[in-house]
């Protein structure tokens, strides 16, 4: 297992946002985390990536306990992520976003940077190269000099994914990656996700669009911080609890 949580819980001022949650992501899988708004999905992401500290429970990533690690450390260990809304550096250009995100690979220190040693220049050139490669990979190359805040909504989200790829993740967490996209943009993004998986990167994604589940190898359904179902998309779709969480009890 690449990622495993055990009894993960988070309490906000007496309210249990995440309760005793066990989820697993295997290498190379695309795993879905679905549930209605307010079910605690984004909180799970924030717990895994170290933005929030869990109240209880354990998170194992790639064989190591990362339960109380900070956000920049989990990134270093190989967890890339996107955000639901604040997904990029708005005042940087598209290319700068990627260069800024290429912080970890290759790594250089303060003195190298200030003194501009040959090693530093070489590494920065490598970063630029890598940034351009990623942009080409996700198809954003033509707009690399545009300010990120001026991109259309769909492209901004794709840029968010590209930015997360720059940490060379083993696991990619995507928070509602296709929300608000057109049908074509969704199709485009799906291709990108499949290509990412082909490169051996596992994906854990949040979505409340049920249709999107078909992409997943495995799905966990959350409601009010509790896991109410798990399994393949087909299994989950039949589950009565899931139907209730999404549609309420049918009264007609």
């Amino acid at each position: 297992m690449l990622l495993k949580t055990r009894g993960l819980s988070k309490v906000f001022g007496g309210l249990r946002a995440v309760a005793d949650l066990d989820i697993q992501v295997a290498d190379g899988q695309i795993v879905g985390l679905i549930g209605p708004n307010g079910a605690g999905k984004s909180t799970v992401f924030n717990l895994i990536t170290g933005v929030l500290r869990p109240t209880a429970g354990q998170i194992i990533f790639d064989g190591a306990d990362i339960t109380n690690k900070k956000a920049h450390v989990t990134a270093k260990l190989g967890i890339g992520r996107t955000f639901q809304s604040a997904y990029l550096f708005p005042d940087f250009t598209v290319l700068e976003n990627l260069v800024a995100a290429s912080f970890l690979h290759p790594k250089c220190n303060f003195w190298e940077a200030t003194l501009r040693t040959p090693g530093y220049r070489r590494k920065e050139a490598a970063k630029l190269e890598q940034a351009k490669e990623i942009l080409e990979f996700v198809g954003l190359e033509p707009m690399q000099d545009e300010l990120a805040k001026n991109l259309a909504h769909g492209y901004q989200k794709v840029l968010g994914v590209a930015r997360a790829l720059a940490v060379k993740p083993k696991l990619l967490l995507l928070d509602e990656p296709v929300a608000g996209m057109t049908a074509e943009e969704i199709a485009f993004s799906l291709d990108v996700f499949k290509k990412i998986r082909e490169q051996g990167v596992a994906i854990l994604l949040i979505e409340h669009n049920l249709e999107f589940m078909t992409l997943c190898d495995r799905v966990f359904v959350l409601n009010f911080g509790h896991k109410i179902a798990e399994g393949t998309p087909q299994e989950v779709r039949k589950d009565a609890d899931v139907c209730e969480a999404f549609f309420g009890t049918e009264d007609d």
Partner: protein, 235 residues
């Protein structure tokens, strides 16, 4: 015709959020706008309530053009909103929150009477009227947000995602509430991601995608439409 949105466009910086949308709500009608996050639904509501300026187009309410009025003037004309995230005043009591809904009304007796009426609808709020709004549960907060708007006696009530963060049971509870409001002669414009809920209460609906209306019609039209069914109705 009560609310008439005519071909509006809204930009955020260079990006376009709403692109040529026309929506009409007749007197006493319940109309829903459905669509995913980022499709521009909330932006339209912001524009209606005067919080976001239009790049082009017009918004009419009754016989008057309202898209250049300050927000409080729009409220004065009887168009109230239960906004995204509810926007309660968390450190004021339930009672005071409801009083705020009646900010523009001068008839103290009438306000008191309406408060009583609203409490009939939401008895739990009467019980908690001295509690701070921030200490209520999610469902109670949603009720308070709706109750607050009702005390303002609107002609048209806009609801922005009332089902957000509610338990399924609570979501079902919204249906009679919205129908009740409508029966008192108040028009309702409902913005929802929860399409089944929206279709349960709305006379007509508009589906929004990336700032454009892609489908318009009654609930039946929506249930029969393949795109909508696949995207939202799980089947």
């Amino acid at each position: 015709m009560q609310l008439d949105i005519r071909d509006i466009r809204i930009h955020y910086g260079k990006a376009i959020a709403v692109d040529g949308v026309s929506i009409r709500v007749g007197a006493g009608e319940v109309v829903a706008i459905v669509g995913a996050n980022g499709s521009g639904k909330s932006t339209i509501l912001e524009a209606i309530s005067g919080l976001t300026p239009l790049s082009s187009g017009e918004i009419w309410f009754g016989e008057e053009r309202i898209d250049r009025l300050p927000a409080y003037e729009i409220v004065r004309r009887g168009l109230m909103q239960v906004p995204e995230g509810r926007r309660l005043f968390p450190y004021l009591s339930v009672w005071t929150n409801m009083q705020m809904g009646a900010s523009l009304r001068k008839d103290k007796a009438g306000i008191r009477k309406d408060m009583e009426e609203v409490f009939e609808h939401f008895p739990i709020l009467r019980e908690r009227r001295n509690q701070k709004a921030g200490s209520l549960s999610g469902g109670e907060q949603q009720m308070l947000a709706i109750a607050r708007a009702m005390v303002g006696r609107p002609k048209l009530l806009c609801l922005d995602e009332p089902s957000l963060g509610l338990a399924p049971i609570m979501v079902n509870g919204l249906v009679p509430v919205i129908k009740d409001i409508n029966e008192q002669g108040v028009g309702v414009l409902l913005v929802e991601q929860n399409v089944p809920l929206a279709l349960k209460v709305a006379d007509r609906a508009y589906a929004l995608q990336v700032g454009k209306v892609i489908l318009e019609g009654d609930a039946e039209t929506f249930r029969c439409n393949d795109v909508v069914r696949k995207a939202y109705l799980g089947g």
